[in-house]
């Protein structure tokens, strides 16, 4: 399946892009992260401390063990600092 992957804040800066389309057979968000980390050092570095990363599936906050299902968009970002 093809999924849109978004990166924000320092994840965007470390990976060097804000969005990309990814072809993946990953079952869960965590599986997708593992695939990304295996690609290149900049991904591996960005995801090296998952405790500092949050993710959203189709714009809803989810845990890393959530199945991708039919999702069209997954986003990775640091803990939010609004307000």
């Amino acid at each position: 399946m093809k999924i849109r992957v978004l990166y924000f804040a320092w994840l965007r800066e470390r990976i060097g892009l804000g969005r990309e389309e990814v072809e993946t057979e990953a079952r869960t968000v965590a599986d997708l992260v593992a695939e990304l980390r295996a690609r290149e050092a900049r991904y591996d570095l960005a995801f090296s401390d998952l405790a500092a990363v949050r993710c959203a599936l189709d714009q809803e906050l989810v845990e890393f063990d959530t199945p991708l299902g039919q999702a069209r968009e997954v986003a990775f970002f640091p803990p939010m600092t609004g307000g």
Partner: protein, 149 residues
């Protein structure tokens, strides 16, 4: 009650926002919170706020809807800016209107606690020494505990 949710690069006018919330015969109490760029040690040049277009509006609307479920509110406004902001500029506001003061205060405080750690905004501080993403505070995450029941 349809919440007023605005995500924008532009400044807002607190007086006219509060006026809008005050409308309606049964509104006795309006609470507003305004957040503003503070200066930081080392001298802040400016702050850059990034957000997740689409998810931001959904998350803010969802928070406002949750607040209206918990408290009898006649109005909710959430405005959050993004882009580059100088020290002293307003970042965001929440406003709540209700019949009684307790509901307006609690709902505004609830919205702020959720907004701090559940709305997809990220702040970067640019000083003379460079640029740093603001780290989330554990106390902001802890603040959510009091709203779980």
């Amino acid at each position: 009650m349809t919440p007023r949710i605005v995500v924008t690069e532009d400044d807002f006018d607190l007086g006219s926002e509060a006026d809008m919330l005050e409308q309606g015969p049964d509104t006795g109490a309006v609470v507003t919170f305004t957040g503003r760029v503070r200066d930081v040690a080392g001298g802040l040049r400016h702050m850059v706020i990034e957000h997740y277009p689409g998810m931001t509006e959904r998350a803010l609307t969802d928070m406002a809807t949750q607040a209206a479920t918990r408290w009898p509110l006649s109005g909710v406004t959430i405005i959050h800016r993004h882009g580059t902001l100088a020290p002293g500029q307003r970042i965001m506001m929440v406003g709540t209107a209700s019949r009684h003061r307790e509901a307006a205060f609690e709902a505004a405080s609830f919205l702020m606690d959720y907004l701090k750690s559940r709305a997809p905004f990220w702040k970067k501080e640019v000083t003379g020494d460079g640029a740093d993403w603001v780290a989330a505070r554990d106390s902001d995450e802890d603040a959510l505990d009091r709203w779980r029941s």
